[in-house]
Symmetry: C2
């Protein structure tokens, strides 16, 4: 096959110097990238070409020009998501720029495929202004069935997402916000159930008011949490503070019904739930003052805000972001199924109801096997993606955003 | 595998109405699109994930942030080309917009893979201004090793290509121009050889002054053609005309040494070569007045400017754009190998020398089997892509634009 002979992947290695320098399994694995394009139709002879390309393709183009909705049937648009970043908030590394973020975006793309059957293309943008990002993504949107925003720093990420979703009729989803929020809610639902409580009986404290913290606060309120206070580096986000950004002012308006002000430690006093998405650390005495049967989700990577050994002294359920402890809060439990469900019914957006449905479905997967070590499924649990996909598709229909 | 279970491709069919409506093999083949993403690394268990995604991926990102050139080694950037269009000049269909152009772009993408081993992603843009297209493509360029412009109407295509190549350090290549030009030159070299002439002895006439016509004129002049006149709908492009666009004025400056003016028929009188990229028709009496041993390349699709049966009455060699006649001038003979060669050496651009080298290599493939029915290889000749790839890579090194 011609492709085999000239594939640049096979003979385009870096010099040996680089190879020796990075004698590390992660570098070896990443050589040449982690993904490729494959044709799903034959292109072996003239007959194949005359169907897949000219002259056959012209009929398909003409049909779409006449009936635009046919683009979903006769192209890969409704199977493919753009994974868009500007490289400004990548993992724990921060602002490393578009090129250096590509390994993460490729990783995300192959997770989309492996766990959701969704094709995904990394698009790392060389621009930073909200206007520029919005305009650029809007212009390339005709090629894609959905936009997954990734690793764009707060507070720009909020405005980018809002403005893009207003403008486009395909789902726009910032995974650092909503993926994390959906999985956290699912785990919290099960942890509450395990300790015989409803969400309405719980008072939660979130450490971190970035993309994840804001989205978790929102989804907990929507799901009916008793109360939730969000803390940033300066303490509890409350209306009396004068240093709040627009997003945090909004947050202060719908969280913290108790009207607390002060430090994270103050908020934790008697709280039922701790959710860490900050990367800071919480001193043990503050953990000790939480309520009985506390639920501790210390999700910072690689160092949880509260070490699991410490957390277990005081908590009924402990979750982290790490794969080497039980109860890993991992976005891969959510985004593949959420997009697969949305694409399946050609949803025009991903509504709050679809996210809540995703969390319900995710929680339900382990409903019959709940334990302190199992409030959330493993990322490799094969029941997860089909359950989330079906729930999201059904919710999209129920909410009137489905188009098939 | 989870991907199998929830793959939206399998259960996202259109309603039966649409299926019956388009009971045609081209539509059947296009259902669900023609391409997909595949992981090239395993993502089956926790160990796989910890290398391909967090935490392992962070080391790779950090290395690229420190040494930007490593992006070529550890991502798919140097394997992947964006196939960019605005849908303004698609096949013979014209301006059908970005969505309706996607089947062609997907077709192009799978040809890139099949014939050159190059991954390619369709990017159909929802914008039309030159500034907008240039700005958008420049912003998404960090994710790609090359930009293949496709089906963008003249004269905007010339400025888009020029400005993007000035701005980017990856190859920018408008295939409608240069792919066609390279294959035409290769066929013309062999046709001249077959009839015992050099290019310098030939006077050519090109019918059509769009993207392909302009690029063919340029490459013929660079390759040393005796003379070439280009005709648009109003006749021969010559300095005395006052209706010329900027591009045509430039064209008038370096073509038509004979100083002809008037109609296509005037130009054809005694000409050695006819190259049709116009879609018009040439009356037989004008063909009859061409020189002895004429070479007729009537490349309009599906209707050649001169029917092959008519052309054969007067010509020593006849080529068309159709696969059902001998000597098909098909871009797939050029673009896969040109990009494969450029990517292999991480060329910063595709120079004139690289295009000429591609044409030489392409012509040489059938040098030992030349006949009037074989002045250019078949698109399925497996010798083509490796030969073009090697020649283009070598030329890039010779011209100082290679970076590996």
């Amino acid at each position: 096959m011609a492709a085999e002979i000239v594939n640049p992947r096979s003979d385009n290695g870096a010099d040996d110097g680089a190879q020796n320098e990075f004698f590390d399994p992660a570098f070896a694995l990443h050589r040449g990238g982690k993904m490729e394009i494959r044709a799903t139709v034959p292109v072996q002879d003239r007959d194949d070409l005359s169907l897949a390309y000219t002259p056959g393709v012209a009929k398909v183009c003409s049909a779409i020009a006449e009936r635009p909705e046919l683009v979903h049937d006769y192209t890969w648009k409704s199977q493919v998501v753009a994974v868009v970043t500007d490289g400004s908030a990548v993992l724990g590394l921060g602002d490393i720029g578009p090129e250096a973020s590509l390994p993460v975006m490729e990783g995300k793309a192959i997770l989309f495929k492996q766990f959701g059957g969704v094709d995904a293309v990394p698009i790392a943008l060389d621009c930073r202004e909200v206007d520029e990002i919005v305009e650029t993504v809007a212009r390339l949107a005709p090629s894609f069935g959905g936009i997954n925003l990734e690793d764009i720093s707060a507070p720009r990420c909020f405005e980018v997402e809002r403005r893009l979703q207003e403008r486009l009729d395909i789902p726009v989803f910032h995974d650092d916000q909503h993926g994390t929020a959906v999985v956290t809610l699912a785990a919290l639902r099960n942890a509450a159930r395990l300790t015989d409580r409803t969400l309405g009986e719980l008072r939660a404290v979130i450490s971190g008011a970035g993309a994840a913290g804001v989205a978790i606060a929102r989804i907990l309120v929507e799901a009916g949490i008793g109360d939730v206070a969000v803390c940033d580096r300066k303490g509890i986000v409350s209306p009396d503070r004068e240093d709040l950004t627009e997003v945090k002012r909004e947050l202060a308006g719908f969280t913290n019904k108790a009207g607390l002000s002060g430090t994270l430690e103050t908020a934790l006093d008697g709280a039922d739930v701790f959710i860490g998405v900050s990367g800071g650390t919480v001193p043990e005495p503050a953990v000790a003052r939480m309520a009985k049967n506390a639920l501790i989700f210390a999700m910072a990577n690689p160092t949880p805000e509260i070490h699991p050994d410490v957390a277990h002294k005081y908590a009924a359920v402990v979750a982290t972001g790490r794969s080497d402890y039980p109860n890993q809060i991992n976005n891969v439990l959510a985004f593949p199924g959420i997009f697969a469900g949305a694409l399946q019914v050609r949803a025009s957006r991903i509504t709050e109801g679809m996210k809540l449905a995703a969390a319900e479905a995710l929680a339900a997967v382990v409903a019959d096997e709940l334990s302190a070590e199992c409030v959330i499924p493993s990322p490799f649990d094969e029941r997860v993606a089909p359950a989330v996909t079906a729930a999201v598709a059904a919710a999209a229909r129920a909410e009137g955003v489905a188009r098939s």
